[in-house]
C-alpha cells in the first residue's frame, strides 16, 4: 500500500536532508522502514538506536503501523537545558 506522509527534520537531520520538511510518498509501513528508505536517499549516518521516533507528535515505537497522512519525526540525541 502507498502512503503519503509528512516528514519533518530537526537539528543534524535537518542539515543533512537540506530541508525542514517534505511530503513523502512511500510503501513503508512502519517508521523503521521509512527511516531505512530516507537513509538511502540522504547522507544520514545516525543509526536507529541513536534515534527516537514521533508519529503525530507523540513518541512511538519503531514498529508502529503508519497511516496515510501521518506526520513523522526522527529525533536525534537531545541536548536541552
Amino acid at each position: 500500500m502507498t502512503l503519503t506522509l509528512r516528514v519533518q527534520y530537526f537539528a543534524l537531520l535537518r542539515e543533512q536532508a537540506g530541508r525542514n520538511e517534505e511530503r513523502v510518498t512511500t510503501t513503508a509501513a512502519t517508521p523503521a522502514e521509512l527511516y531505512a528508505e530516507l537513509k538511502a536517499r540522504y547522507p544520514f549516518k545516525l543509526t536507529r538506536d541513536q534515534l527516537k521516533v514521533a508519529v503525530n507528535a507523540e513518541f512511538r515505537d519503531w514498529a508502529t503501523p503508519l497511516a496515510d497522512g501521518d506526520s513523522v519525526v526522527f529525533i536525534p540525541p537531545v541536548a536541552g537545558g
Binding site: F10, Q50, P76, V78, A79, G80, G81
Partner: protein, 141 residues
Amino acid sequence: MSVFRFSRKPIDGAALRRELADPASGGYASFEGWVRNHNEGREVQRLEYEAFEELAVKEGERIVLAAVGKFGVPHALCVHRVGSLEIGEMAVWVGVSSGHRGEAFQACRYIIDEVKHRLPIWKKEHYVTGDSGWVNCEHCA
C-alpha cells in the same frame, strides 16, 4: 498559560517568579541554565537552540505536572529558550513554590533533569575557532 513554554526572547525570571506567588507558599526554588563559554575542552562563542515544539510542549507539560503530583507542590513552571544565544544568556528557567522548601528543591531538580533528558530540544555550539557541533551528537555524522 501552559506550565511549559518556549521563548524566542530573553527569559524574564523575575516576571515568571511572580506567576508562582501564593500566600500559602513559604518556599520558592528556581534553577537557571546559562550559556557557558566552554564545553568538553572547546571555547564556545554562542549557541543555537532548536526544538520540535509541538511534541516538546506536550511532553514538557507532562514533566511539570508529574513533579506537581510526585512532590505535592502547588506551583511549578518551566520556560526554555530557542534561537541564537550569547554567552551568559539564560537558556532555561525552572521555578517552584510550595508550603516548604524541601519539596520545592526536589521538584525543581526533577523538572530540569527530565527536561534535559527527554525533551526534543537540540543545542548547536559555535566555537571560537569558527566550526560548530551538535551537542551529545559527536558520533552522529
